[in-house]
Amino acid sequence: MAVISSRLRLAASITVVLLAVAVLRVVPRAADEPRRIISLVPATTEMLFAMGAGDRLAGVSNYDRFPPDVARLPKVGGLLDPDVERLLSLKPDLVIVYDTQTDLKRQLERARIPIFRYVHRGLPDITATMRALGERIGMKAAAGAAAARIEQQLASIRARVAGRPRPKTLLIFGRDPGALRHVDASAGYGFLHDLLELAGGSDALGDLHRQSVEMSTEMILTRAPEVILELHYGDSLKPEQFDSERRVWEALPSVPAVRNNRVFLLGGDEFVVPGPRIVLAAEQFARVLHPDAR
């Protein structure tokens, strides 16, 4: 009697275990649909919010500022200094890392934490990344819709400026305040270049296949841009300083952009985060390049 009952109990427990395994296999849960995501990349943080997955974030990088909701999330370092201990203590089930964070990737693999690798490239890669990320977290439809919306908005900006003359434009993303020294410009590769071309400009450095170039004074003079767009972000420049910073360019009066008063200073973090807000960046570029295109 005792033997039978113990065998029954064993059979029952085996059945329960098998059933549980079967159920878990049929209904994919935690493993496929991460609920505690850590994003070390501000662009992917914004993508997650745009597809409606902001509530799944368990932590973000030190450089995340947008949307304002990220302020309440734990910060776990950045590209160069990820805080691995803090990151692990948050028990993530997916960590979005830069593909170049080799050491961090190895540590996370050792801890058996799934990773999503982010690669920073051109404009089409932004919506591609968004779709891939959506698929990875089980929100394929929402991510696809958000990506399509961005593509649509960009296409409408492109259509609006199509057929208009494309001014030769120099896109500057950094220089010493108050002087034309250490002038860093975007060159013919990367999302800023793509955005500029989309918004109806012709990149003055389009022939140089690099993300950025430190421009000498001589190079600025000989490239003779018709429009200069200067991007300011973070807390690098207060709006009341824009006027005096624009006047710095008067040292180079032969540059057509300076002569024709087409030096524009634009402020905002959307220029440096290749996420959903690129639409705002493209809109601002289009507005200064083609003010009469509505």
Binding site: G78, P177, G178, A179, E214, S216, L221, S254, V272
Partner: protein, 354 residues
């Protein structure tokens, strides 16, 4: 510090060369004529060459309004300030190198050794990272903060040198200075750690050095401390010769050792601070030019000082010319070129003589 390596690497104390029999005045004239010609030739040639072709006739053509004259703007805004900055920075770093090597009785001393250069870098890093927002007479925050940083470092080192008067040696000043340098470098690393991506990028670029000053205001500003330094250097040639033999024998020959060392330290530090705040830390000029010059003219500071000033200027103008043309339309940071050109040339001269 005065071992066999010192005397072989750097003939600071070789006072009995056969050449020394020629009257110094005559050799001085020849030295200044030779190195002066080189420096003047560099100053005249360098503004004519660049990544773009310009026509001198157009540059000085008064019939074209300046605002429309591209050639004139390339010449007067892009190239001439750059060549002048290179001349000043090169000569200041070379002179400081000579003086630091004699003062510390160490052939490896350079403008970076005592931390003045690191102080200047720290000032610039802070201005970039914390977005300092001020300017003075057209000089912007980064060079101002940089010069202030070098001055702060000078005060620390000067304090050390004043304290060392209680019967210690040059090696104590050297060790103290190297420690200050290490300390400041650690603070630089800390400030860089606080910087965000773009600031880090700008910090790194600043540390590579750049002579593209694009206006005359910073050059004018750097001239003030440099002129003070030159006045100091002018009193040094003879006493540095005596001092490099040793402070006791210098004192025995009537040199006011304390005063000389003070003048040498302050002048060399002012020159270094002005140079680094103008162009960033351009490496190698301050150590290589003095040795190259000594290999050519011997160890007499009456010859070494003017020759280093002239050759340092010409050398940096030449390196900057290479930096701005070799991968045109892009540019290399000039500090890379000084080390890549200067290193092998120096090794060749050193081993050819040995």
């Amino acid at each position: 510090m005065r071992g066999p390596v010192t005397s072989r690497l750097c003939p600071l104390r070789e006072r009995t060369e056969p050449r020394a029999r020629t009257p110094v005045r005559r050799r001085l004239i020849w030295t200044i004529a030779g190195f002066g010609t080189l420096a003047v030739a560099a100053c005249l040639f360098a503004p004519l060459v660049g990544s773009t072709r310009i026509h001198l006739s157009a540059v000085f053509d008064r019939s074209i309004p300046y605002a429309d004259n591209l050639d004139a703007q390339i010449f007067f805004v892009a190239r001439l300030p750059r060549v002048l900055a290179a001349a000043l920075v090169g000569s200041a770093l070379a002179l400081s190198g000579v003086v630091f090597q004699a003062l510390l009785r160490n052939p490896l001393a350079s403008p970076d050794t005592l931390g003045v250069s690191a102080g200047a870098s720290l000032g610039a890093m802070m201005a970039i990272t914390f977005n300092f927002d001020f300017s003075l007479l057209g000089i912007t925050a980064v060079p101002l903060a940089s010069f202030a940083g070098s001055f702060g470092a000078l005060l620390i080192v000067y304090g050390l040198s004043a304290a060392r008067r209680r019967g210690t040696s040059a090696i104590v000043l050297l060790l103290g200075g190297v420690t200050v340098q290490a300390l400041l470098s650690a603070i630089i690393a800390f400030v860089q750690y606080l910087a965000d991506f773009t600031q880090t990028f700008r910090n790194v670029r600043w540390l590579m050095g750049s002579l593209d000053v694009a206006s005359y205001a910073p050059i004018g500003a750097a001239l003030v401390p440099m002129a003070m330094a030159w006045a100091g250097f002018a009193t040094l040639p003879r006493v540095l010769d005596l001092l490099s033999v040793g402070s006791e024998s210098a004192a025995a020959r009537g040199v006011n050792v304390e005063r000389t060392e003070r003048v040498a330290l302050v002048s060399a530090s002012l020159a270094t601070g002005a140079a680094v705040s103008l162009a960033g830390p351009v490496s190698f000029v301050g150590i290589i030019v003095p040795h190259l010059v000594r290999l050519i003219v011997g160890a007499d500071h009456r010859l070494v000082l003017p020759a280093s000033a002239l050759f340092g200027g010409a050398f940096l103008i030449g390196c900057d010319l290479v930096a701005r043309t070799i991968i045109a339309p892009l540019e290399l940071p000039v500090g890379i070129v000084t080390a890549i050109i200067g290193g092998p040339v120096f090794l060749w001269l050193l081993f050819r003589r040995a």
